[in-house]
């Protein structure tokens, strides 16, 4: 609390300064969150790492001097400053840096889109099930449980294997529509606990529509939770996409981090010691997903006073 400026003591004789009396105003929710956010190492670390990677993904492709799939001059070149091959070249002479930044950009796209779609479906189903108990809840709960039990990864394998042309968008959409169940389930429980509160009853009495109550009264009360859920879905989508791409079901006509790993393993890069080929993609995924997770714990500590370390 040391950062809260204590107002100077005003003399009681001066009526204009009444407002500056040293009554500790309770901090507003946002300011309190900001106060703890700026002091949370986990959050700051995660956020700065994610931002750095995002900037790299945005700027990188403009720095690359070669196309990610085109022949760039020399085979199996170790990282060098010459000719812009900062990350070396592959066995087929493609520039690893160009592939890396392209893949990193795709990872962000898949994460944002797949995580976003999953979050939206999870919210719609979770809110509806939690708000409308009874039959609707039963049906949605059953649906959630079925999708939860299906090994969605295996399902994605079968679907992707039959598709002739695969794109990043389609991959993200498929990941989105298969990874929402746990989010829906968690949101249903949260909604359930909020529905019986007085302020929701008041809103109901005022005759507002259900969706208005859900988005004006219930959702804002778990905004932090929703945000953290999105972060987790974002990271999860990136990992799922990398796994799919590694199996050879990645997008056609471009290159992702998972495909880089697949190609390096397929071309015996390990035995040939072409470490510049297979280390960067995995390292990037690990750094990105890891910092997202760490950011999530940090946020949890910011929003939930019980978890703050004393």
């Amino acid at each position: 609390m040391s950062s809260v400026p204590t107002a100077p003591l005003a003399s009681p004789a001066d009526p204009t300064k009444v407002e500056e009396l040293p009554i500790r105003q309770p901090m507003s929710g946002f300011r309190e969150s900001l106060h703890f956010a700026l002091r949370n190492k986990k959050l700051l670390y995660g956020l700065s790492m994610t931002t750095a990677l995002l900037l790299f993904a945005l700027i990188g492709p403009f720095l690359a001097q070669h196309g990610p799939l085109e022949y760039a001059g020399q085979l199996s070149l170790a990282p060098t400053t010459k000719g812009g091959h900062w990350f070396g070249t592959t066995l087929q002479g493609q520039d690893v840096f160009a592939q890396f930044v392209t893949g990193l950009r795709l990872a962000f796209i898949v994460g944002a889109l797949g995580g976003g779609i999953a979050a939206i479906i999870g919210m719609v189903i979770g809110f509806t099930a939690g708000y409308r108990a009874g039959f609707v809840d039963e049906v949605l709960n059953m649906l959630t449980n079925v999708v939860l039990v299906i090994p969605t990864f295996a399902l994605l394998l079968v679907i992707a294997a039959y598709l002739q042309v695969r794109g990043v968008l389609m991959e993200a959409v498929f990941i989105g529509i298969t990874s929402w169940p746990w989010a829906a389930r968690a949101l249903r429980a949260q909604t359930f606990s909020l529905v019986s509160r007085d302020f929701v009853d008041m809103a109901r009495l005022s005759g507002r529509s259900s969706w208005k109550i859900i988005f004006r009264e219930i959702a804002p009360n778990m905004s932090s939770y929703l945000f953290m859920m999105f972060i987790l879905l974002f990271g999860g989508a990136i990992l799922i996409a990398a796994t799919l791409d590694f199996i050879g079901l990645g997008p056609s006509n471009t290159i992702s981090l998972g495909q880089m790993m697949q190609l390096s393993v397929q071309n015996a890069a390990l035995q040939l010691h072409l470490w510049w080929w297979f280390l960067p993609p995995g390292l990037a995924i690990m750094a990105l997903v890891g910092s997202l997770y760490v950011m999530n714990v940090g946020l949890d500590e910011v929003f939930n006073p019980k978890l703050r370390e004393m």
């Binding site: 449980n145 079925v146 299906i150 090994p151 796994t243 393993v265 390292l283």
Partner: protein
């Protein structure tokens, strides 16, 4: 309790039907005649084999029949254990490919899941609210759980097998080894098994440890823990109660994590050329051997459903509330 089981069984039965239906529907949903598409893509040179494959596909898909009959026959052949024939290894039935691959996958998955769950829970519980241990376990756990399974495998192979030559690069056993129940062959199997197991174990361990650590912190901050503390109960006792309560979500989490670990096992097998289901599915995908892909998918479904059922039973034993019909184990 009967109600609890009934609900679960309905979910599992429904899941199975949905999964089988999807498995059947996907080739039918794709544009065009699936047999022609498949024949166009596999491009078999030998006309005799090509004809045989074509006949096989026609019979398998029963395309001349009405749709509902095709669907019905799919179920009939499923219950006869007939999952079609592999194209890559032509007259080998898909079923025999799967039964040969399953032991390897299970040998990796079961110990990796069980040990990582156990060790992760233990370490996570130890680390919660203990500064020094927490400061090492937390970053380590997050790093591990954020690592793509295949990349950890790649890293282990590169360092331990290619550079240091401590472990083999891959495969289930040496190609020169004589198969049989001998000590030398068993140790050879174990030697090849260790690295893929380790890489699966490590990634899963990170997730469990983090989960348990966070759960324990939630529990230690709950009212009952504070109340016990105020009564003067020893720390050990409070932590014990916290651990018991934190176990329940971890058991539920086991069911939830199955799919992810399974995906991890599939790619780990690919990295290590370990001849389990993942390796077979990879071969099938790269060679467009569709019946193998579909068959393995069905087996994965059945395995995951069985595992979920086991987790349910364990939950029932561990959480007394489900037994007396309270809401503890609500699905």
């Amino acid at each position: 309790m009967a109600r609890y089981f009934l609900r679960k069984l309905v979910v599992y039965a429904l899941t199975f039907v949905v999964a089988v239906t999807i498995d059947w529907a996907i080739p039918h949903l794709m544009p065009g005649n699936p047999v022609n598409t498949l024949m166009g893509r596999i491009q078999i040179q030998d006309p005799k084999v090509a004809h045989q494959v074509y006949e096989h596909y026609m019979r398998a898909f029963n395309l001349n029949l009405p749709l509902w009959k095709q669907y019905w026959y799919f179920w009939v052949s499923l219950f006869h254990g007939d999952l079609g024939t592999s194209i890559l290894e032509f007259p080998t039935p898909v079923m025999s490919i799967i039964t040969h691959a399953i032991p390897y996958t299970l040998a990796l998955l079961v110990p990796a899941i069980a040990l990582s769950w156990y060790a992760g829970n233990k370490f996570g519980a130890l680390a919660a609210r203990r500064k020094t241990l927490d400061n090492t376990l937390l970053p380590l756990g997050y790093t591990l759980t954020a690592t793509p399974y295949m990349w950890l495998g790649i890293l282990l192979i590169w360092v331990l097998a290619v550079i240091w030559h401590v472990f083999p690069v891959g495969f289930a056993y040496d190609p020169t080894a004589v198969r049989g129940f001998t000590w030398s062959f068993t140790s050879n199997l174990a030697y090849h098994w260790f690295l893929p197991f380790l890489s699966l174990f490590l990634v899963a361990f990170g997730g469990w440890a983090i989960g348990m650590r966070n759960m324990i912190i939630y529990e230690l901050e709950s009212d009952y823990a504070h109340y016990l503390g105020a009564l003067g109960a020893p720390h050990r006792l409070i932590r014990k109660y916290a651990f018991r309560n934190a176990m329940l979500p971890q058991i539920t989490g086991l069911a939830l994590a199955l799919g992810a670990i399974l995906g991890g096992a599939l790619v780990t097998e690919i990295v290590f050329s370990y001849p389990g289901l993942g390796y077979q599915i990879y071969r099938a995908i790269t060679n467009e051997d569709y019946f193998v892909i579909q068959g393995i998918f069905l087996f994965i479904i059945i395995g995951v459903l069985l595992a979920n059922f086991v987790v349910d039973i364990v939950y029932l034993i561990v959480d007394p509330r489900t037994r007396i019909g309270m809401e503890g184990g609500r699905s």
